[in-house]
Amino acid sequence: MERFGEGYLEERKLVKRWSGPIPALVSLVITLAVFYLSWWIFQDPRGVMRMYTPYVGYMYCRWWLIMMIWMVYIFNFWPFKRKWLETAHPLLKGAVLTTISAVILVALIKGFFEGLMGNYGLAYFNPDQLEKLPGVTSFFAIEYSALAILMFAAIASWLSPAWVVAFEEAPWQKLSQPAKGFSILIMTFFLSLVVYFVTMHPHMGILYHPWQYFTSIAPPYWEQFADTVSGNFHISWIMCCTVVVWLVETIWERYPFNLIKNDWARRFACFFGIIGIALAMHFFLYFAQELTWGEAIRGTRRAFAPDWRWLHVGEMAIFFLVPALFVTFYCDNWPKKYSMPVNVLLRTVVTLIGAIALYIVYYKTSHMFLGTQKGFSHPQQFPMIPMIWLVNIWLVHHWFMDNWPAWKMVPKTAEEIEADHAAKKAAIEDVRWSPKFGVGLTAGVAMGVVFYFITVWALPAVYAAVNIIPGN
């Protein structure tokens, strides 16, 4: 039976061509070069296609990410045969698969959203339909519809991988492709639709007056709690979910949920655990902004507006994703030598430091070369776009091209695969309850809480000392 790409990512052995950190650095340089070239071609407001309006660029960026998740995680490279995956040259594979992802991407946005949904369903998916409204200019029509479509993408980019990572493809894990792929696709798409309608549709409704024309609930139910009517409140936690799904999948190796023996208990715990962790991030990052910039004032604009603050939570979250993926893709999930919890903690610390450094560097310098604008809250400053664009390039590189040229792909032998499974099992077995573990856990919780309050206490002074953007 043809397995297509099922298990392909676990069952390939990536062999460094050089020792030490050189492959990682070489890959970083190459991917950054490709990033900058493609950024100039597609996104840069001074470049060729100038999609960074910013929403149009963001929409394509976000959906492209999902296309790749669909192809690799949900459809396991179907319809490409395993043999081809293992033998074709990485450049050829990259070119073919990337082209396919782009074709589906355009078909989905132009055909499904703008064509079908926009013309026969919800007017705001299609800029031409939007423009028929009084007072909507062409520019805003395009921006609004891009916003609506990308909101859908934001939700899908959390739910699609979450079904694989948390629900472990259940209940269709036994099906062969493409039946499995279509099942998961339809399920996640349906869930995305539901979440979209209860989180984002009211936001789109608010853009128009009177709101009731668009039969959305207005003002929306989250207004009092979130201090804003904007859907950015949801963008924020959904972005956090997207990031946490990948953290759980990559640097955390699904720890601690993998300790749970019962299948369904583990799956539900993981799925809702991801949401729980995301909400914690969501609230903390909002609090961090309040601590450094002062309380949000509803009704003001930009940096002090709650809606922008929520958006910025999502923007900050995305800065965690980049170093986490780098650690997994190019550093082979370093470190691996301690017990799983300690490994996870160390990687998390590294990711955290990387995220903060990236944040500072990005805001200090990005406007000099990306064509974005200086300032945190400038409408033309959308860090999610370049970050996700870079992540997209890495996914192409890591999933489609086996980290070529710094690594070489060798399929693992049956023994190696077996050994891998055993090691994984052992690592999980290694973490088990004991009195000392309990003591450690209690001490750790206390330390975590203390660390939290120290952070909260020190943050304003530390932020003031760094002064990322003078004058802000």
């Binding site: 914690a280 301690y338 919890p341 209690t442 750790g444 919780v445 206390a446 975590g448």
Partner: protein, 385 residues
């Protein structure tokens, strides 16, 4: 060996625990009301003015004059907007010499002996001596503050202009009886302008002992007029800045030059329990944005929310280096008012734009010579809280 295992177990537990503790604290504490204790309010004074239960405003009159064209003609004819308001020869200070040739002394000499009790006779003389007496209207409002214990206190904000029109309006709303029964605690003047201030005898006719609050910056004629109208009560000059009145009510004086040689404006702030800040203004010459920002920087109010506004929202005349008058409409939305009752010098067009922008404008009934339903017109009321 077992020590080693123990240590490893402890580390595993601790590593897990740090994550659990940190994430738990992040999730539970970061967005809880407890977080508020971390915010420094260095920039905001947050002066506590107390709270009140509700504020009810009755619009006694918002029609300062009935024909814009007539008033503009008078102002132009007399020499423009910088002319001293006492020199126009408008009622009640007519001296019979014609437009722009008036003076306070000559005008008041004609009627001083009739103030404040014989206003019909006074108005007859005024009609004979003044320019366009029929065009005069006035701005006046009754503010009723309900304390948390249910006690109600009444204040007047301004007293209008024309004796005749204001007396009618006072009687229509029953203000005359309230004054006679000493129900009204005090009279606040927003500024010295003719349409807010010159109807003073009408109030003093019914209650000459009423306490009067004026903003700093009154001219000698204005101060003299208060005496000449037969005021026997306390006169309090409010210095620039915040001045507490009763729990939940304060006034704020802005030092700004206004047309017709007037200086300084006093506006009222109320802190309504569970709702937020309510502002009552005469003309708001300082501009609604500065007004709201001042409240934000100076006062502590419920829910940290600007809840309502009543009065004239002067379309700022200094806002024209970018002639987008819509700016004001948009930025007013920034303050999230939940109830807006606007009239007087707001501009009907502006009020209509507020409505078009979806702001919660409380519409009026357009009766008693108020021109448009977009305005909270003469005789209409609005309640906050």
């Amino acid at each position: 060996m077992s020590d080693n295992i123990n240590r490893r177990d402890f580390l595993k537990g601790a590593a897990t625990g740090v994550g659990v503790g940190l994430l738990g604290a992040m999730g539970l504490y970061s967005y809880s009301p407890m977080r508020k204790s971390h915010f420094t309010q260095a920039e905001r004074k947050m002066t506590d003015i107390g709270v009140c239960k509700s504020v009810k405003v009755t619009n006694i009159s918002e029609t300062s004059w009935f024909e814009n064209g007539v008033l503009m003609g008078d102002i132009k004819g007399a020499g423009g907007l910088l002319v001293n308001q006492y020199d126009y020869n408008w009622p009640p200070f007519g001296n019979g010499k014609g437009l722009g040739k008036g003076s306070y002394e000559e005008g008041i000499a004609q009627i001083k002996h009739l103030l404040p009790n014989r206003l019909e006779e006074a108005w007859k003389i005024i009609e004979g001596n003044s320019v366009h007496p029929e065009n005069a209207g006035g701005y006046a409002a009754l503010v009723e503050v309900e304390q948390m214990d249910g006690k109600k206190t009444k204040y007047l904000l301004d007293v209008g202009w024309s004796y005749k029109w204001c007396d009618e309006a006072f009687k229509r709303e029953g203000i005359d009886k309230m004054l006679e029964n000493k129900e009204i605690e005090a009279l606040f003047f927003s500024h010295e302008h003719f349409d807010h201030f010159w109807g003073l005898p009408v109030a003093l006719k019914y209650d000459p002992e009423i306490t009067i609050y004026i903003p700093e910056g009154f001219y000698p004629e204005g101060l003299q007029y208060i005496k000449d109208c037969g005021h026997k009560g306390k006169l309090i000059t409010v210095k620039n800045g915040l001045n507490k009145v009763i729990p939940g009510m304060a006034s704020y004086v802005f030092a700004i030059p206004i047309i017709c040689r007037v200086y300084g404006e006093q506006s009222l702030y109320f802190n309504v329990a569970d709702k937020g800040l309510v502002s009552v203004t005469g003309c708001c010459h300082q501009g609604i944005i500065r007004f709201a920002e001042t409240a934000y920087n100076e006062i502590k109010y419920e829910n940290d929310k600007c809840y309502g506004i009543y009065g004239g929202l002067h379309i700022s005349p200094f806002d024209d280096w970018d002639p987008k008058y819509d700016d004001l409409v948009i930025s007013l939305g920034d303050y999230g008012f939940e109830r807006i009752g606007c009239n007087h010098c707001t501009g009907v067009l502006c009020a209509k734009k507020f409505i078009a922008a979806g702001y919660p404008v409380v519409e009026g009934t357009a009766k008693n010579r108020s021109k448009d339903k977009a305005y909270l017109g003469n005789g209409d009321t609005i309640t906050f809280g």
